[in-house]
Amino acid sequence: MSMKTKLGTLSVVSLLFLGACSSSKSSSSAPTSAPAPTASSASSAAAPAPSSAAAPVASSAAAPAPSSAAAAPSSAAAAAGPTGSDVKATLTIWTYDQMQRDNKIQQAEFNKLYPNVKFNVVFIPQEQFANKLIASATTKTGPDIIWDNPAYTQAFADAGVVYDLSKYWSAYSDAGQFPASVVNQANGKVYSVQTYSNLNALWYNKTLLDSLGIAVPTTLDELQAAMAKVKAAGKIGMEIAGTPGIEGEWISKPFFTDWGVTGYKDLGNPNTEKMFAQVSGWVNSGYIPKGDLSLSQGDGVTKFEGGNVGFFVGGNWLISDAQTKSKFTFGVTGMPSGPNGPGIVYLGGQAEAIGGFSKNPDLAWDFLQTTWLSKEFETATLAFGSIPSRKDAVPTDASQPIEAYAKAVEQGVPISSDTANTLLIGNLWSAVLSGQTSPHAGAATAAQIAKTAK
């Protein structure tokens, strides 16, 4: 590829972006723009940062042993000797998570093994992240370590901006601790791993349900009956985000699987219309306030915190904030099952990858496995509301919300990498719930999407 073409690619991507933004500022500051499934939401939800006090691994006693250096097929580590002090390098990390920008815990821990390794953490707003990464590859100078939405793994792999981790992963002794759903593959190769998961579950206002004698629902029918009772008591049945795009699709997933629509190719299933009819029926019956459908998940939780809402489809990263603000008892349970299957949720969170043009891929892998993939650090993610991906990192005596989410992780599925159709399905969800599109017309559009689904 000639330099001219590279410059052209850079300039045209910039033009597209600037043109789209016209006179606006960075969309990063848009309060509704961040899709929920990622860890950036955790920071936006004011989740406490994993400070040294909060994160048990910060203490030297809990520091992970430098065994990772031996486990990794790292020439850098092998040459470095026991302390790794001979290794002099700078690892550049790109993240869209403000919390990670300021987090030095893992770096400090890694510097115990590699004292001469420096870190350059670059914060990039989420909306710009994927395109900046792809554009940066035109000069073959991307980051060493990437933290981004797992949904983009396929796009990044196609663009060649992520490193093939297959050889590292196959040699990694703890690989079995990670469910397959958090090991992101593209074209048959491993490209990224989620160290923790962010996912949805059904929140319920226990105080309110107890006062009305309502049991925690486990099926859609029970949920519907419970919402009817809550509404009859003058309260709000449920808050759920009806926003378009990625967030809408993320929210809609369990409702589709409830009706047996498990993938995009199944969208032509007649049950799609039944699902749309049921959920839009909840809006029409007043169980879900139509006016709140424009609220993102992050905004909807504030309604739930008010105490007059029976249920809320919420993510784990919102828990700690809600626990602080709510003046009532609430619980979390898995998404209800439907007539044709369980309510399966997506496993969001941040995917850690190595840059396709990293000059230190071995060292970068050492960093990932020594810190973020280790049991100690994974357990520490609980402190800021995320669910560890490692099976051995969830304590057996986990508190109720964590336990509910941890159970949901077991049957969670990776976010779809079919980004074009993800957008369309999210828009469809939003259109049907708000009444812009009827369930019948929505199902017809869904059937069209199924034809182009990957």
């Binding site: 590829m1 073409t5 590279k6 410059l7 052209g8 690619t9 300039s11 045209v12 991507v13 910039s14 033009l15 597209l16 043109g19 789209a20 933004c21 016209s22 006179s23 606006s24 500022k25 969309s27 500051s29 848009a30 309060p31 509704t32 909306e127 994927a130 395109n131 792809i134 590859a137 035109t138 396929q154 796009a155 990044f156 196609d158 663009a159 060649g160 009806g242 926003t243 378009p244 795009g245 809408g248 306030p289 139509k290 006016g291 709140d292 459908l293 424009s294 980004t419 074009a420 993800t422 957008l423 828009n427 939003s430 259109a431 049907v432 719930l433 708000s434 009444g435 812009q436 599109t437």
Partner: protein, 310 residues
């Protein structure tokens, strides 16, 4: 005077039929324009050419770093065959018209009502400038808050018994598109008001006084004296507001994300989501090219008008 000193010929009157010769010093130098031409070439013409190339190629994450396969007008054919694109074009037209009406009529009314009110006028103009400088993310978020179902406007409407139930500005039917257009039109008000104010100051006072002496009422004075003076300004302001409206992205993005569904999605937002959410760069580029052509339709008459004036 400077010319005379340099050339020593300025005092000579040119002969009949002979074109006055310009001295070297007054001849516009092409060299002065070169930096601007180079700048525009690098930062406008070249990216624009690549954008057009992208719109006639297949560009996605797999191909963006390699040679872009040429597909001719296939992207445009797919685009024009897509019913959603047609709906988006219509929404863009409606959006632009609403922004235009609010911007121009609001600006004109504001300028006329502030005419001659010195203290109040100065204060209001200061507010308008503040409004103009507000980042769209701030004004968009404010409008989103105001128009929400439990926002200030609905509280007002319900408490004054104008409506019994909150109006779902950001949800129901055409209201999301109209609400976003209203906010985008609102932000055009300062520009239009200040432009009309400048034009009003240009009207010879004696003409208005003469019309008044002749017995013309306020409406007649406006129709026969003020409006003819404002017409060229209105033309230019309209073209600029239409261009802004067609490429406007920020308010829809902040207030509704183009939703519910795609109810408030206009061309720039559709292009953005195609390119940067779905990673279909060539479709995004094709939409951007269509948008640019539409904006050019408004920009060319403007450029012609300005050129004629100069």
């Amino acid at each position: 005077m400077t010319t005379a000193l340099i050339s020593g010929r300025a005092t000579q009157s040119p002969g009949r039929g002979r074109r006055p010769r310009r001295s070297r010093a007054t001849r516009p130098s092409v060299a002065f324009a070169l930096p601007l031409v180079a700048f525009l070439g690098v930062f406008v013409a070249y990216p624009m050419a690549k954008l057009v190339q992208m719109s006639v190629s297949t560009v996605n994450p797999s191909t963006i770093l390699h040679t872009w396969p040429f597909v001719g007008l296939a992207n445009f054919r797919h685009l024009f065959a897509d019913p959603e694109f047609h709906r988006t074009v219509w929404r863009t037209v409606i959006f632009a018209v609403v922004v235009l009406v609010i911007g121009v009529s609001g600006g004109l009314i504001a300028a006329l009502s502030l005419q001659g009110r010195r203290k109040f006028g100065a204060f209001t103009y200061a507010l308008l400038v503040l409004m103009w400088t507000l980042p769209p993310i701030v004004s968009g978020s404010t409008w989103k808050f105001l128009l929400s179902n439990d926002g200030f406007i609905n509280e007002l409407l319900v408490n004054t018994h104008l409506v019994s139930q909150p109006v779902l500005f950001l949800i129901d039917g055409w209201l999301p598109l109209l609400s976003v257009a209203f906010a985008a039109g609102w932000v055009c008000l300062p520009f239009a008001t200040i432009a009309f104010k400048a034009a009003l100051l240009d009207i010879p006072r004696e003409r208005l006084e003469a019309a008044e002496v002749d017995g013309a009422g306020p409406l007649q004075r406006f129709a026969h004296v003020t409006w003819p003076h404002l017409r060229p300004t209105t033309y230019v302001v309209s073209i600029l507001i239409m261009s802004y409206a067609v490429r406007s992205f920020d308010f829809a993005y902040v207030m509704t994300q183009g939703g519910p569904g795609t109810a408030s999605t206009t061309l720039p937002l559709l292009g953005y989501s195609s390119a940067f959410t779905a990673f279909n760069y060539s479709t995004g580029a094709a939409i951007a090219v269509v948008t640019i052509v539409v904006v050019m339709l408004f920009a060319l008459p403007y450029a012609r008008t300005v050129g004629r004036r100069e």
